[in-house]
Subunit: 149 residues, 2 copies
DNA sequence: CTAGCGATGAGACTGATTCTCAGGCTAGTT
DNA sequence: AACTAGCCTGAGAATCAGTCTCATCGCTAG
């Protein structure tokens, strides 16, 4: 329906493309389409949602490519893979200024983002105290959303 | 090899069996074996680990039954299903006095439990502030364990 | 313009989890 | 104790997310 084309790419897409070429990747249509789609997202999408959304646009991308690209982006640290207990992984762009976590509704599956500074501080505090090189964390709250309650 | 039989069941197994009968479940050998095995665990096991451990004992339980039983126990709130980003779910008994979270080594897959009071306080504080009926939470720290570093 | 090599995607494959359904067993009833 | 309704089980099929293979495509350096 609506054509979301040419929406100026944000800092994230720019930084991501830079990272990609630094890492020695060539350009390619499939990867560009995935990066562009993720760039518009504020929260996490599953691989299948990404496949569907891209198919609805003018650029369908093979499943193998989607997974390969998401893994590369995850490895570069520009995308976060999050598991919300729904039997499938979700992926979201990592924006330095927008770190957040998720509330998941156990009934309807809705995913809601939230952030909290004290929580982050508590996590970082732990990271320093354990005999473990912490590289990332994931916090998921389960329950019922306002609609399902 | 060693027969770990007749080890007195803990409060968890007792409470779990009570919950089950309250909820209208009949007794059954498969469920009893799963509850008994979980009762001995302090940390999370995957469904396959449970299947193997039960098979090594005198009581093998069908895979379908294991998943069905774990889901029932999860629903009753006596077992927690945790997803540690390893492509499979893990299950652990919920003990009121032993709430904990997990460190996962991205290289070797080791799972280490930890607990932290300030972190719990931060989570509970959030639970009260959001328009969402929070029923549980899961916190996973990723990184490299002492051995893999 | 062209060769070399990375990028892509159709489809087979894997592994975890769920579904189906026939037969077994529990728990009331007599 | 015997009987029976209906929950409990488990073997195997089905499903589903995710991975792998490999032939082909299309950047890009030269």
């Amino acid at each position: 329906m609506a054509k979301t084309k040419k929406k100026k790419e944000s800092e994230w897409a720019t930084a991501t493309n830079e990272r990609l070429s630094e890492a020695g990747f060539r350009r390619g249509g499939a990867r560009a389409a995935v990066v562009s789609l993720l760039d518009e997202q504020s929260c996490a999408l599953s691989a299948y949602e990404i496949e569907d959304l891209l198919a609805q646009r003018e650029r369908a991308v093979g499943r193998a490519s989607i997974y390969r690209i998401l893994e590369e982006l995850d490895e570069l640290g520009v995308v976060a893979k999050v598991e919300l207990g729904q039997g499938q992984a979700r992926y979201e762009p990592v924006r330095p200024d927008h770190h957040h976590h998720h509330l998941v509704c156990d009934k309807c599956g809705a995913v809601i983002a939230f952030d909290d500074a004290p929580l982050e501080r508590a996590v970082h505090s732990i990271s320093k105290r354990v005999d473990f090189a912490v590289e990332g964390h994931e916090i998921v709250l389960h329950g019922l959303c306002a609609d399902c309650r």
